[in-house]
Structure formats: structure tokens, C-alpha cells
Symmetry: C2
Subunit: 165 residues, 2 copies
């Protein structure tokens, strides 16, 4: 695969960034842009990660989701270890170009290193439900997925858990 | 509305954070947690923002989306200026509890300060589409929304544009 650099445009004006067809992404002081990934079919939020310029470039060129792993500080081709590659159906960028939205098809149907389909498998009760559930301002998360799609130990073996406390 | 503080739990172990019902959100060194907001009906990604502890607390208590505005450095009750309040249908938290997912109903059907329904109104061609469209590695964004839902000047008047270059 040729890796001719994609020409990101310099950010020159609000009108250019918001209203033009220029691809002028804003990488933060760590060189990262936020990436939000949803299931292209169900609309479910699968994960939220980050891309550096190379990850965005490779995603665009290959049509497969690449991220930058903050815990491992490396380019991360999602699915390279687990086989759960994310095929990009649509790649969107937001108004001020500091967030990328990936609509993906996931091979195997799972995205979460814990083994669930989505990284978002617990809900927080809100409003009246919070008022009814809370005790002294303390509230319990509610699991919305009860069964894991895969066993992380089988898939990842002894690879370090990416969750940081 | 009583603002008794919600008792966020201290983060003690990966198992607690990933597998328990403890609400133990991870705020970054700026005191912020990423928030991703989708339309509860369509699954469309409406916006990506940030919450501080107070914004998360108020969202949980009121059932209406609150964020922390990084450009203005203030608590931001979404819709307070525009009237486009986001009613939270479901509030989810991810595996390592550093990202909140809001599934919302939006009064008026618009979320973007530029006037579009979603903040994500442009796509980046990927894979074969990128290869066909690029010239010298340069690629044009493609608008997926062609009509604004409202006129930002009418709604926001002279309020400063939140986009930062």
C-alpha cells in the first residue's frame, strides 16, 4: 500500500473549517483527534478513541479503522490482535473538524476488550429514575448487556489490559 | 432542584471499573470526561463534547444534557440559548469509565451551532472512493446535509462562534 501523505489543509478561517470542503482536522497538543465509532447498522455507539495523523491517513486509505493507542502509544489497527476489524462504511467529520465519526461494520460483532458487543454495556439512571434509585447521592450502574460475545482471555491472552485507573 | 453531590466512587481496580456497578468516572487532568451524543431514534451522532463533574451530576439529576464548554470555560446547559434542549433517553458509560454516551431527543431537531441537524454534515471519502477522488493526496469533503435547519444568526445573534482555529 502506498503511503503518500494525505494533504491536510492548514486551518485558516472559521468559514473554511465549518463551511468548505477542505479537510483541515484539528489535532490537539498531543497530536490527537477524537474518534467516535458507531455500528453502521444499529447506530449503537461501539467505542470512543483517538487518532493521530497517521491513524486518520491509514483509515482513509484502507477503509479500515485505525486509532492511536494512548495506553500503548502506538498506531493501532483495530482488530489486528482480536480479528475484530472495523470496516468503515462512512467517515464523517464535525463542524470545527476536531472529531471524526466512523460508521463501521464489525467482523464478529464485538468491539470491546472486556468481551461485550459494545464498550457501553452499563447505563446510569437519570432524572426521575435517578431520584428513585439513589441513596445518599450514590447510584448503581445497570448492565444493559448481560452476556459477553467472546472471552477476552482466549482472544487477547496475556496482553496487558488497556484500562488505566 | 437540590444539588446534593452525587457520590462518584474512587477508582480502585480494573475489575471494579469494568465489571461492577460502581459509578467511578475518570476525569482527565483538566477535570473533563468525553461525552458522545447520539439521536435516540435515528442513532445519528449529533455532537461530541465534554463534561466536568458538575455537568455530569446535573445531567443525571435533571435528565437534560449539560456539558462543560471548553471555549467559554463554563457549565453549559445545552439549549439554554438556542432552546434546543437535549432530553436524555439513556445515559451510558464505557468499560473504563472515561466516556459518557448520551442518547437524546432534541427539541427542534437540530444540534449544531452552524445550523445543521448534526455537527457531522460532511464525509471524507475512504478506501476506493478516496483513491478515486484524491489528487496529489488532497481530498475534498462531501456535504451530506445540504440545508440548514435554522439560521445561526437568528438563534445566537452576536454570541461568539465556539469554533477555535
Amino acid at each position: 500500500m502506498s503511503m503518500r501523505p494525505i494533504a491536510f489543509q492548514p486551518r485558516q478561517s472559521i468559514e473554511q473549517v465549518e463551511e468548505s470542503t477542505d479537510l483541515a482536522p484539528k489535532f490537539d497538543d498531543r497530536g490527537l483527534i477524537t474518534a467516535v465509532t458507531t455500528d453502521a447498522t444499529s447506530g449503537e455507539l461501539l467505542m470512543q478513541g483517538f487518532m493521530n495523523a497517521e491513524a486518520l491517513q491509514r483509515t482513509i486509505e484502507t477503509g479500515e479503522a485505525h486509532y492511536f493507542s494512548r495506553s500503548r502509544q502506538v498506531l493501532w489497527h483495530k482488530g489486528a490482535t482480536s480479528g475484530l476489524v472495523q470496516k468503515v462504511v462512512q467517515l464523517m467529520i464535525d463542524d470545527d473538524q476536531d472529531c471524526i465519526w466512523l460508521r463501521v461494520d464489525v467482523a464478529g460483532g464485538a468491539s470491546c476488550h472486556v468481551g461485550y458487543r459494545s464498550c457501553f454495556y452499563r447505563q446510569i439512571p437519570v432524572g426521575e429514575n435517578y431520584a428513585a434509585a439513589q441513596k445518599d447521592g450514590q447510584v448503581s450502574l445497570e448492565f444493559t448487556e448481560t452476556q459477553k460475545v467472546f472471552d477476552p482471555k482466549e482472544v487477547y491472552g496475556d496482553a496487558p489490559n488497556p484500562t488505566l485507573l
